[in-house]
């Protein structure tokens, strides 16, 4: 059996190694559009800032592929799939046959149609080659367009490199998908303290400069700069799937076994649309832990295990300098259009802030900054188990001491969500 994996990212490599661990005979071939072994795109901003060396962001060397018996073809971007003939066609016109095909090519960076976006001095921070260019670019004033996780981390990295950094966000506050306004405002204040300028509710109209970037024009101001980083989001690579007439929505559509609508073609990672493990809605969480789990499911199903995916979960964290924040589930803004009684628990002490969103008495999301974030895992558990918070509060009020050894996470959870009882946690 020959398995061809398109994409040399986290998901693709995970499928390959899981297959190899279980089966020594299977022929595995990875087709990579880039020319480097597997690296971790999540750690590119840290490489950019100089926190880690170049060797640390690589997860494999070329020798590792040889040892595992995985064939790898660099610079082989796949442009078309022919499911009848069971072949994929690369850019160079080479045809490769397969028995099982895994689509793990992830997504492509979205470049908004701004005038001058192809000028010299406009970078992105998603791929190794682009991050490397940015690292060796010499400048002193940078504008980051977009304030998603990549934008924030790139801004921090550039600040550490000594740039003057401006972030421009179209929506009302930074990290608009992950956080609600109050949490985002705390983070904004923390970033401003570190000297990063944030402009929210502004639209970039033009990037000026003939050869090199000279300034960025928004609808409110003009910012002089010599470096622009575009971080306006990642769009799933569905174009390739469409050549094989695979059903797509926002991403490639898959069933619980991670099979696409065409037999013997699987998909995992950033390019698929999957469902939320808690709410069962169709979502796209392009996060690392989901890619790993999906890849494990793909590998098991290729080997004939018949295992269903339990769903993706939303958990993300951001950190810059000394401020740490975490978020999971839905934000209050995403909850407002849902039916049911929503409730909000807020706790604040100093710069530490906790925000838990409840819908019909069940946790469906939350955000935390500072020390409260350390226990956000308990709330994620409550969301998964669909704990009834009213019941939990009642139980918490009359929990017998003798039961403590078995239920201490419950007690701790009660301290976080039990708004009826003023609780205080002291960590030694």
């Amino acid at each position: 059996m020959k398995t061809v994996i398109i994409g040399n990212g986290i998901a693709g490599n995970r499928v390959a190694t899981e297959l190899r661990q279980r089966n020594k005979e299977i022929e595995i071939c990875i087709l990579s559009a880039e020319d480097v072994p597997e690296y971790d795109p999540c750690s590119l901003p840290y490489y950019l800032a100089g926190n880690v060396g170049k060797t640390d962001i690589f997860k494999k060397t070329i020798n590792d592929y040889k040892q595992l018996g995985i064939n790898i073809a660099f610079n082989s971007k796949v442009v078309a799939i022919n499911p009848e003939a069971r072949k994929v066609i690369t850019e160079a016109g080479i045809e490769i046959g397969y028995d099982k095909l895994v689509l793990a090519h992830g997504g492509a960076l979205f470049f908004p149609p701004i005038e001058g976006i192809s000028n010299a001095g406009v970078f992105s921070c998603k791929q190794m080659s682009e991050a490397e260019k940015l690292k060796f670019h010499k400048g002193r004033k940078a504008v980051v367009i977009g304030s998603g996780a990549i934008g924030i981390e790139a801004a921090e990295a550039l600040k550490k490199k000594g740039y003057e950094v401006h972030i421009i966000e179209l929506l009302g506050w930074i990290l608009p998908v992950l956080f609600d306004e109050p949490t985002a405002r705390i983070l904004e204040a923390a970033m401003e303290r570190q000297g990063i300028h944030i402009h929210t509710g502004e639209k970039v109209l033009q990037i000026k400069g003939d050869e090199k970037v000279t300034s960025v024009v928004t609808d409110k101001r003009e910012i002089e700069c010599d470096t622009v980083v575009v971080a306006t989001g990642v769009i799933p690579g569905t174009a390739l799937a469409k050549t094989a007439l695979i059903e797509t929505g926002r991403g490639i559509k898959v069933n619980r076994k991670m099979e696409t609508s065409v037999p013997d073609i699987y998909a995992c990672g950033d390019c698929v649309e999957t469902f939320d493990s808690c709410t069962e809605e169709i979502v796209m969480f392009q996060l690392k832990h989901n890619a790993i789990e999906q890849a494990q499911i793909v590998a098991k199903n290729i080997l004939g295990d018949n295992i269903g995916y339990l769903g993706a979960y939303a958990f993300a964290r951001v950190h810059f300098f000394n401020t740490h924040a975490a978020t999971f589930g839905k934000t209050m803004r995403a909850t407002q259009c849902m039916l049911g009684k929503s409730e909000l628990i807020e706790k604040q002490s100093g710069d530490d802030y906790l925000r838990v969103v409840l819908l019909d008495g069940r946790v469906i999301g939350g955000q935390a900054v500072g020390k409260y974030a350390d226990y956000i895992g308990l709330l994620i558990g409550a969301m998964w188990r669909k704990d009834d918070i009213e019941q939990l509060r009642e139980r918490w009020n009359k929990i017998p001491q003798a039961g403590a050894a078995y239920s201490w996470p419950l007690i701790q959870l009660g301290q976080l969500v039990g708004s009826a009882m003023p609780g205080s946690t002291n960590q030694i």
Partner: protein, 162 residues
Amino acid sequence: METRREQLAIDPLKCTGCQECLLACSMKHQGVINPKLAMLKIIRLETQELEVPVICMACDNAPCIKVCPMNARTRQKNGTVATNTDVCIGCRACVYICPVGSPAVNPYTGQTMTCDMCRGDEAGPWCVVACREGALKITQDDILTRGAARERAARSRAIFPN
């Protein structure tokens, strides 16, 4: 995947919060007496008048390994999960996703630390040796649940003899 066969069982009712385990832990791993450098922590629940030692439970399907952006969290030979301090950047994703909030953050480096069961030390985990109250003990996989079941059964027998 290696799963851990032995577990540290905690008993919050016996814990007095004396922190001797923290001192032993920092001595074993860092060579200094400093409770801030311990890999376990004690959480005080004021309203319940309880002191709860929090230790890594080495989940079989550990979320911290998947969530780490640097792949610094790795499964060790003895089944525990450790942070590779060469690449850890101190983002604390593992602390946030942990169902008990167990990874401790080294206040001097910002990197996380996790219980490694003292890696085959002859004396056993030092915190267990140091605990005078018997709040920490080492157990083999199923004995943990068997002990709990036996205790509950004993309690019901006390109410309904025979």
